[in-house]
Symmetry: D2
Subunit: 339 residues, 4 copies
């Protein structure tokens, strides 16, 4: 019994998935495609990848390959999803599904018609801390949820080139938090209200984006929430979630490389948070691909499906509109509106 996988896109995240998949028993990463593959020979050998190609269609035509990971730039996701779905292979697609709600919906329709499985790469749903927090909330450990607080800050801004193609802070960065908000509260977002600022690098403003933002949410179940994002938390990747409920409050803190504390004449020093997502979500990335295999092979529950991808995009679009227009945006009106 072997589960055979192909990977489209071998950038940082594509490689990470290959490495994590290669450590799973019974999983075979047969083929990897990218625009260039010559530099990947040693890496492929190390992780027993059998085939490198610049033509991802070969993967779609390979009858041995049962599932495809889409790790290409976002602008190509929706198109490839449709092709893969039509080739009847299961799909793992990196977030966001696309920059366009319309394209995402079309892709999801093809997925739905062909009946293949689709898992979207919101890796934080697979983090042990957040899973535990969600469990407490779901089990009523803090009563009925009233107020959600998500702090999510990167250690350093990406390049301006990256930002130009990122879809903007809401679609590129806060989209993770929009998904976390839905996951944690277990209810849909009703309204979105955003403030944003360019405080870290004026060039980010020049290309039409922001680098610091606070977004307020209201949920269908009555709860309210707030997300704050910064492209630069100089002390490291800041990832905290807190839920206040009628019977208590639960929260998770940053993970640190060690528990060391050093007390000297003037101060007590401890470690900064883990530097960035690769370090912080190391285990989540492993769990994410394990769960995808479980979904495809054992028919387990889909923890992050296409609709989850779509909803996060809708909220991100609404946040951008709220920022641009200076008023809150209602998601239900918004959808017809944005068509």
């Amino acid at each position: 019994m072997t589960f055979t996988i192909g990977i489209i896109g071998a950038g940082r995240i594509g490689q990470l998935h290959v490495e994590n998949l290669s450590a799973l028993p019974f999983v075979r990463v047969k083929s990897v495609s990218d625009i260039k593959v010559d530099h990947l020979q040693d890496w492929a050998a190390r992780y027993q990848v059998e085939e490198l190609t610049t033509d991802y269609h070969l993967l779609l035509q390979d009858p041995e390959i049962q599932a495809i990971f889409i790790c290409t730039p976002t602008s190509t996701h929706a198109g490839i999803i449709k092709e893969v779905a039509l080739s009847k292979k299961d799909i793992f697609c990196e977030k966001p599904v696309s920059f366009s709600v319309k394209e995402t919906k079309e892709a999801l329709e093809v997925v739905s018609k062909t009946g293949v499985k689709l898992q979207v790469g919101f890796n934080r749903r697979f983090d042990p801390d957040f899973i535990k927090l969600r469990q407490v909330v779901e089990d009523g450990g803090i009563g009925i949820p009233h107020l959600l607080k998500i702090t999510s800050r990167d250690p350093a801004p990406p390049s301006i080139d990256y930002i130009i193609n990122s879809g903007g802070l809401f679609m590129d960065m806060m989209i993770h938090d929009f998904d976390m908000a839905r996951f944690m509260i277990g209810s849909e977002v009703k309204t979105v209200s955003a403030v944003g600022a360019v405080l870290i690098d004026p060039k980010i403003g020049e290309v039409g984006d922001i680098d610091t933002a606070i977004v307020t949410l209201t949920f269908a179940n009555g709860a309210i929430g707030v997300i704050d994002n910064s492209r630069q938390a100089i002390y490291g990747y800041d990832q905290r979630v807190e839920v206040l409920g009628s019977e208590g409050m639960a929260h998770v803190e940053n993970n640190r490389p060690s528990t060391i504390e050093i007390s000297t004449k003037d101060r007590v020093v401890k470690d900064n948070p883990l530097y960035f997502f690769i370090e912080r979500y190391k285990d989540a990335y492993i769990e994410e691909v394990k769960e995808f295999v479980n979904l495809c092979v054992m028919g387990k529950k889909n923890i992050c499906d296409g609709n989850d991808g779509l909803q996060a995009e809708l909220i991100a679009k609404a946040a951008k509109e709220s920022l641009d227009k200076g008023h809150p945006v209602h998601l239900d009106l918004y959808e017809s509106h944005s068509k």
Copy 2:
């Protein structure tokens, strides 16, 4: 050398001020007035209060009394401030100065003309934790401030009677946080955007108030901020402040009755936060009256003056308007607007 004080209003907070003042060397609390005083005989003896009266005008006429504490219901503050100012005594007034920006302005004008000193009772400015945090921010310890986060939750909602006369959540409760925001960032608030909900007790909604709220702020210096309030954090008084800046982040956590941790079979248990403001701000209340004495007797800096009172009220009004109208409110437009 003695500094002689009179107290108008001997409810919980008035009594607390007397007790704290009585422990200061060289301070004499000569007279206390309230609507009823018979039940206060023993208490007055214990703290060497010499005179109890139901007519606060006696205090204004007493040439020995150099300063007056106004601890009556808010609706009476502005009127009494004017009377005290005209009697040429220095004033400590509990927050808020009034429920009406117009009344507050009129009272401040009288204060200004008479040249008496006025300190407003935003006690949190005198808390050692927040002072230390402000010091770090002011000294550039975290660079230029980008993002402020204030969490401020009461352990239990007050009675519906209290809420009816409170001026509403923004004017009664979050007004402390509006003041903290200005104090911590050292810049004026430009825009206010509020969401609110009735999640704890429907009766609070029935009397036209909310019990849970998130307010987003933008500041003149470019920073942005968010405050969350709940009338019921069942685990105790939750008072946290965090500032993210260009060079780092600083925050203060809740104070707990002890550092004890108990590890048993299923969990590690530590103490809840201190229960409510009397416990949490015990030292701040002492410092507040010390600083008032320093202000009056030694001419030290006014740490919380009439304008601080006014600005917090303006923000509270704007927050209410934002909640009611469903869009952000610009404070500069707002003032002319609200006249």
Copy 3:
């Protein structure tokens, strides 16, 4: 109703007691004696002390004075205790009762015969953290106590002059921890085993003392324990206690001036522990004199009596003998032995 007190010895700790007593309602510190008193005029006025004298016998003869605080050098304690007891006044005596078990026993006999009350100044028994920890242990919150760990380190060594007259590290410093050990476990010490070193200042060794020590204890109830002391924890006063039991573990941590944490590029910084005993045990010193007043006036339980003073001295003597002889010392044998 007033409780009238005289103070013998107005050094740092004597003054602290006066200041704390002066804040209690119904307590009158009438007289203070010391070898020199001229420099104390302003201080005495500030705290309403009515009489300053260089002859403490005047206090013993004053029929108004109901209780005496003995805050003189240790070598004089036992003699003064006897005089005060014969004058039929209640006694608060600083620790240790004396440097000599024989003298202590003689003093306690006079106390016993005259029936006056005697409270010994082991201030840590009155610290809210340690009280809470003891409560958990006493209530069976961690089952049957198995293992006690006390860490107790001063921020900086005292002068060599002080050390010469201190009675040595065990009698001067660790005696607090010996008392804490008995208090926390609620059982008598059976055996004592010490290692010690001169690591901080060779001059401390030259005058026959040590500056760093670890002492292992066994208790009558079967539990075992360990105390570590250092004369120099450069990061501040380190005061931690931990008890492991059959059903769990409980511990208290250091107290810090604030909860602030500052996260910058390289590290997260928090406050050092409170600097020394005056800061750390501020509340304990207040509680200690309150409880003494409660003991004398209201007949409440004696939380730290003469026998507690004696037992701590016995353990300190045994620790010194263990260090000198290089083997464990049995306390029951020891007493007859040391007569």
Copy 4:
């Protein structure tokens, strides 16, 4: 380039090593031997073990196998070490090397003569927290080390059968802490002084062992230290180390499964420490085998060699003698003594 390994002993720890080795690129676990192997077929397939045998001599004779892991009961270690050394294969041996200082010395002599490499399985030296702590101490981050404190407690006692064959608490459990003490202080132990008790299970006493112990150490460099052990910390595996130095103090705390904190009406709850060594030292076990491969293949430094194994045994023996005789034991005298 492949490094080929054979494993002798496939109990819990042997299996763990195979699983960790199988995830390393270029490492091949060719053969595993144990007394019984039938039940291991599936497990072996899963981790690509090619050969299962009940005769470990086959591994010694296999020219492909370059290194051997000895994971058998301790009583067999020394004998197998000699055999493996004579077969010219490198050796990883679980702790302790043997129960007999004499046997250990003989085995080390053969290792020395044959020139093979020997790494002893003190896994804690490879834990990221302890490595960081050691680095701080070694780099002078806390000045000259004065005092070491190790707390090391198991969540639950092993079976009586296990205890009977364990070599006793000092040789089986505290031996890890003796090694940690030498590693952390970077100096040899001079004297050992032990107290011990049977507090958890009287049966442990009946078979001549103890379940709770405190051992005091003095080091050649002048530092002093203390280790406490309990066979039952009901709240989980308690693994803490602290070093006080002339310029500060550094310590590491327990690792927890998550950072979650849940605040409810009566208390704040956080996770217990990770349950036991498999969970707590998961990463250390991986690093340990990586470093062994680095040692054998790339000639890197031996982080835990045969002498480290020997020294820990000597201290364990001395601790037992100290407990039995009731006085401290000097290690240098001890060695000749114990021959």
